[in-house]
C-alpha cells in the first residue's frame, strides 16, 4: 500500500491523473494506453469501494514517477467518498474508445510511440483475464436471473395495467353510475400499483383515503413549523421538513401534493396556495398574505427600494417566498418594479399614493 491518500482523481482522454488535495504540487499520472482492463471491488465493512486497474509492464522509456518498478501489475483506486459508479463507467468508456490514439496531446508530455508496448502480453495477465471472465460469467448469471424474474414480474404488472384501463373505460361509459365508494377503491388500487388515474383529473387529483389521512397528519405536524416561519412555507420546504422528520417510509412528492390538495376540503387549519409563478405554498388558515403585503410595503418604503434578496434578509424569509410577496404587492398595485440587469428592484408605487 502506498501513501497516496486524500486526493482528487481526474480522467482525461489520455491519462488517469491523481492530484494530492493538500499538496497541489504532488501529481501523478498513468497513461490510459497502459491499462489492460479494470474491475470493480465492492465496498465492505471497514473497506471502501475500489477500482482495480491492471497495467501493462512499464515500457523502458516511461516517465519518472514515484516508483521505478513494482512487483504488482495493478494499482487500486480507493473511493473513500464514493463516486466509483460514475468513474468506473467513464473510465470504461475511455478505455473502449481509445481516443488517445487519434487525438494528439498538448504540450509538455513527450509521448514516445512504442508500438511494441501494446502487443506484449505477459503470462500473468492471461491468468487474470481468465479469472475475470469467470467472475463475469457468474455475475452475468445472477444478473440474468434477476432480469428474468423482473421480466416475469413486469408481465404480471402489465396485466394489472390492462385491467385498470378496462375498468376506467367502464367508469367513463357509466358516467355517474359508479358509486363514490367504488371510485375510492379503484383509486387506492391504482395508488398501490403506481398507475396514473386515467379517469378523474379534477379537484381531488388522485386523492384517496391514504391522502386524506396524510392531510390530517400534516395539519398536526406543520402547525408549529408554520407559526415559526411567519405562517407560510414553500412545498419544497415542507417536503424536506416532513421527510427528514420521518426518516423512514418517506412521502413521495406526489403524495405530498395530493394530500395538500385535500386540506381545504377537509376543513383543516392549513391550505395549499399556488402563486401565478407556479410556486406552491402551505399557509395557515389564519395567515393572510394580502395583509402581509401591507407590512411589506412599509418595509420597502422605509428603505426606499428593495430587491427580493434584500427583503428576504431583512425580514428573515426565504428568497423564494420573499419574491412571491413582493410580486403579489406589485400585482395589488402597491409596488412597482425596476427590472434591469442589476437585478429586480421594487419601489413603492408612487403613481398610486401621490395622485
Amino acid at each position: 500500500q502506498v501513501k497516496f491518500d486524500s486526493g482528487v482523481l481526474l480522467l482525461s482522454t489520455h491519462r488517469l491523473i491523481w492530484r494530492d488535495q493538500k499538496n497541489h504540487e504532488c501529481c501523478i499520472a498513468v497513461p490510459l494506453s497502459q491499462i489492460v482492463f479494470i474491475e470493480e471491488q465492492a465496498a465492505g465493512i471497514g473497506k471502501s469501494a475500489k477500482i482495480v486497474v491492471h497495467l501493462h509492464p512499464a515500457s523502458s522509456n516511461k516517465e519518472p514517477g514515484p516508483f521505478q518498478s513494482s512487483k504488482y501489475s495493478y494499482i487500486k483506486l480507493s473511493f473513500k467518498e464514493h463516486g466509483q459508479i460514475e468513474f468506473y463507467r467513464r473510465l470504461s468508456e475511455e478505455i473502449t474508445q481509445r481516443r488517445w490514439e487519434s487525438i494528439p496531446t498538448g504540450q509538455a508530455m513527450q509521448v514516445k510511440k512504442d508500438s511494441q508496448a501494446g502487443r506484449i502480453r505477459a503470462v500473468g495477465i492471461v491468468g487474470i483475464e481468465r479469472k475475470l471472465e469467470e467472475k463475469r460469467k457468474e455475475t452475468d448469471k445472477n444478473i440474468s436471473e434477476a432480469f428474468e424474474d423482473l421480466s416475469k414480474l413486469m408481465e404480471k404488472a402489465k396485466e394489472m395495467v390492462e385491467l385498470s384501463k378496462s375498468i376506467a373505460n367502464k367508469i367513463k361509459e357509466k358516467q355517474g353510475d359508479i358509486t363514490e365508494d367504488e371510485t375510492i377503491r379503484f383509486k387506492s388500487y391504482l395508488l398501490s400499483m403506481g398507475i396514473a388515474n386515467p379517469v378523474t383529473r379534477e379537484t381531488y387529483g388522485s386523492g384517496t383515503q391514504y391522502h386524506m389521512q396524510l392531510a390530517k397528519q400534516l395539519a398536526g405536524i406543520l402547525q408549529t413549523p408554520l407559526e415559526e416561519r411567519g405562517g407560510i412555507m414553500s412545498l419544497t420546504e415542507v417536503y424536506c421538513l416532513v421527510n427528514r422528520a420521518r426518516g423512514l417510509e418517506l412521502l413521495s412528492p406526489e403524495d405530498l401534493v395530493n394530500a395538500c390538495k385535500m386540506l381545504e376540503s377537509l376543513k383543516l387549519p392549513l391550505r395549499l396556495r399556488i402563486f401565478d409563478s407556479g410556486v406552491m405554498v402551505i399557509e395557515l388558515q389564519s395567515h393572510n398574505e394580502e395583509e402581509m403585503v401591507a407590512a411589506a410595503l412599509e418595509t420597502v418604503s422605509e428603505k426606499g427600494s428593495l430587491t427580493a434578496d434584500e427583503f428576504a434578509k431583512l425580514v428573515g424569509m426565504s428568497v423564494l417566498l420573499a419574491k412571491e410577496r413582493l410580486l403579489l404587492a406589485e400585482k395589488m398595485g402597491h409596488l412597482c418594479r425596476d427590472d434591469s440587469v442589476e437585478g429586480l428592484r421594487f419601489y413603492p408605487n408612487l403613481f398610486l399614493t401621490q395622485s
Partner: protein, 243 residues
Amino acid sequence: LPQAKYKERGTVLAEDQLAQMSKQLDMFRTNLEEFASKHKQEIRKNPEFRVQFQDMCATIGVDPLASGKGFWAEMLGVGDFYYELGVQIIEVCLALKHRNGGLITLEELHQQVLKGRGKFAQDVSQDDLLRAIKKLKVLGSGFGIIPVGGTFLVQSVPAELNMDHTVVLQLAEKKGFVTVSEIQASLKWETERARQVLEHLLKAGMAWLDSQAPAEPQYWLPALFSELCSQELSPEHAREATP
C-alpha cells in the same frame, strides 16, 4: 324500467371487475414480495439494474415512485432511496443558488450530493439523480432538467426558460461563456433576439457579464465554473486559446 335494469347491470359489471382487480392485486403483491426477497439487494446495489427496472416500469405504464404507499416503494424500498435523494438535491441547490442563479450542472450536483451523503451511505449514479429530480417537479418550485452538451443542467428556481434560453445555454456550455456574435454566427439570430435572451439570463442570475473582455462582452454561466476547473486546460491556457 328496462333503463333501471340496464343501469344496475352496469354497476354490477364494474363491481365484478373491481373484485377481480382486488384479487389480482393481492396476487401481485405476493409476487412482488417474492421478487423482493430475492432481488431487493440487487436493486439497492446495482445502478444498472435500477435503470432497467425503471425503464420496464415506464414501458408498461407504471410509476414505482408515484407514492410511498405503493407496493414498489413498500416492498422494494425504492421509494425511500429516491425520496431521500430528493431532499438532498433540494438542499444542495438551495445552498448554491445565490452563486449560480439556480442553475447547476449534473456533475457538480452529483459531487455535492455525494459529499453530503457521507462515506457510509450508498453510492448514487447520475441516472438516480435525474429520476429524483423528475419527481421534484410536481412541488412547483421550478425543478427542471435542461440537456446541454453531453450532459444536463439542473434548474431549481421558477424562472421561465423557453427554447431560446435553452439553446443559448447549450451554446455557452462549450466554453462556459457565450457572446452575441457567437449566437449570431451559430444560430443566425438578429442582435435584438440574442440580447433579450442574454438579458433574461443575467436578470435571473444565471449568467454573469464580463464587459471587460477583449473583443466583446462575454456572458459567463457560473453553473459551469466548476466544470471548467476540472478540465485539463488551465485558465491561462483557456484565455490564450480564445481570440
